[in-house]
Symmetry: C2
Subunit: 366 residues, 2 copies
């Protein structure tokens, strides 16, 4: 049984894009549609959803019991064994549902190697359906947004906790572990992504993923964290300073803070995503740090921690009530330091920005 | 700088398969080739490796510093910004390296949506290079195998620990947490996969991934766990019984134990993978439980926890010295219970099976 809200939007978008079906492998897309997503492994499995609302599921023998429990007896399953392989099950399903020669979209979790194997036996054509699967749920209901408010509050409460917890001698990993255990205590379902704790020179790498460095006196620390609450994500970043701040760090902090605040308050219904990016980017460019702002200003958020709308150059999508996204400008000076500030913003029903994160954007010295 | 052993094998396989280049997105494949694999996210990045040994790397701006640190200044990088997108960087690289119109393999981590986007702008042809990237490193050196012995010993030691640790009242998650903290204490780099703790009725789902059930008196528990040591994986399963065992459980256990033991000792240089599968499968079939043995008998293991050679029906690959794989027959009775026993076996230089796991295969009552 499909459990998604706004599912009619998806069928309409499939029709508009001339897609007869979409293949949805385990992912947040699948979680959204059926309220379950099996742990992804190398064995192919996916929901095949047709424009007319019919669907079937291809599953390894090994996972049949769990997907049956989720989708029920009335669903048509194509079950494959390790000996037989998955291609026969997929092509049989496509044939039975009249999809020979048709246009099939694939979601972000379908692997190229699996699509290539199917393409050898199937005469239809494959298309990228990623943006379509994000678009149909891009405007959130008040009920969805309330979940995001709660998730954002949990993240803010962790920042408050870390302000008192962080001190020299701890490792980045100690801080990660604290975040995870605090989110669990608060009743979150888990982190929405592996927290990023980038201290000292690591702070110049926006997506630093190691965690073994020991915090030192005078460090700068980027903290980027979020949780999942009733399937909705939070995501926030703050930059703390250990025992003091240099003049250069302070100067850069104030530029990022201004960029962040101006962009957050500029975002409203009717403006384009690229224009929000431009507000943030221009302030950093004017400061002379344009080349140190390496990423888009923000990304949408909801069931997935990164989804549409993307707040970036070249994206002419227009903001509408119910859209939720991050604003996270940063300056990253290679070999020196980096910093960013990130909140989640929702466009409210009047078209104005509601900033979900409340933790201070002023300089925090721990 | 490429750091892989046996790299000449890979070039030879590319030549044999008529592939001019392979695209290797973050994965164990990439870890093996360059001793680093960035955390995978939605931004495309990959190593492009040519049959003649040249290579280039396509990276988001955001990840440039970390990949530069790994591959050095002499590597050619194609760096893309969020505003511009990745397709231009990929097609420029393909063009500069003379790959227009050529045959390009993709590894298991390349997403179909990214390949489809590139295919719109590129006149070459894409192929599944997954098995090729596993085959070139399928025979391990004595040095590799020694790392696997150590990883296997760590997993065996955890089984011994769990034998005393497990008791009614603990949750499946408590057991998972114990496994992870014990592996960390022992000096493993981490788990090689999220441990599977399937208790009571959950045991009939071979890849059960939840963990909230509370252990009860008379439970059956499948424990499936492994770690990573110097990049090499372990993977072992045992089935424990809490406070006693029923006659039916005992009967099923003895069938699986026999299937497991016979297959382990049958595996040797010169026999096919499918024949090893058949030894295990026939014993279970003869017992009347054929329909309850849902999976292949085993999978190869090394840098990846699942890789070639696959011990399954239809696989005519011949075992050779240095190949390492699991033997893990199981019986899963839907709605009742399931159980399996799993060891890692290596074909030694004389062509005989060396069983890396030493923990008892006899019935363990905790």
């Amino acid at each position: 049984m499909l459990k998604a809200n706004y599912i009619e939007n998806l069928y309409a978008l499939m029709k508009k894009n001339n897609l007869d079906a979409v293949i949805i492998a385990p992912s947040q897309d699948l979680q959204y549609l059926i309220d379950f997503s099996p742990a992804a492994d190398e064995r192919f499995q996916a929901l095949f959803l047709l424009q007319d609302g019919r669907y079937f599921y291809v599953t390894p023998e090994l996972n049949y019991e769990e997907i049956l429990h989720c989708l029920g007896e009335d669903t048509k399953y194509y079950i494959w064994s390790d000996g037989a392989g998955f291609v026969g099950a997929v092509t049989q399903g496509l044939k039975d549902f009249g999809l020979s020669g048709k246009n099939i979209g694939v979601n972000c979790a379908v692997r190229a190697i699996n699509m290539l194997d199917v393409a050898e036996e199937f005469d239809g054509k494959f298309f990228n359906a990623h943006s379509l699967l994000e678009e149909f749920r891009v405007c959130k209901s008040e009920e969805d947004i309330e979940k995001m408010r709660i998730a954002a509050k949990m993240a803010d409460d962790i920042m408050e906790d870390l302000r008192h917890f962080i001190k020299p001698g701890l490792t980045e990993k100690d801080i990660k572990d604290r975040i995870k255990s605090k989110f669990a205590e608060m009743g979150a379902e888990g982190v929405s992504f592996e927290p990023i704790i980038a201290s000292g020179p690591n702070s110049s790498k926006p997506h630093y993923s190691d965690d073994c460095r020991v915090i030192e006196e005078k460090d700068i620390i980027i903290l980027d964290l979020g949780c999942r609450y009733k399937n909705y994500c939070s995501d926030t970043s703050r930059t703390f300073f250990v025992g003091g701040i240099t003049d250069k760090e302070k100067e850069v902090y104030e530029i990022v803070k201004k960029s962040h605040w101006e962009a957050e308050n500029y975002a409203k219904a009717g403006v384009t995503c690229e224009s929000v990016d431009k507000v943030a980017r221009d302030i950093i460019k004017e400061s002379g740090h344009g080349e140190h702002f390496l990423n888009r200003t923000g990304h949408g958020i909801g069931y997935s921690v990164h989804e549409a709308p993307y707040i970036k150059e070249g994206n002419t999508q227009i903001l509408e009530p119910g859209m939720a996204f991050s604003i996270e400008p940063g300056i990253y000076i290679p070999g020196e330091f980096g910093l960013r500030i990130e909140d989640i913003v929702v466009i409210d029903k009047n078209g104005n920005p509601e900033i979900l994160n409340k933790f201070t954007r002023d300089i925090v010295i721990v």
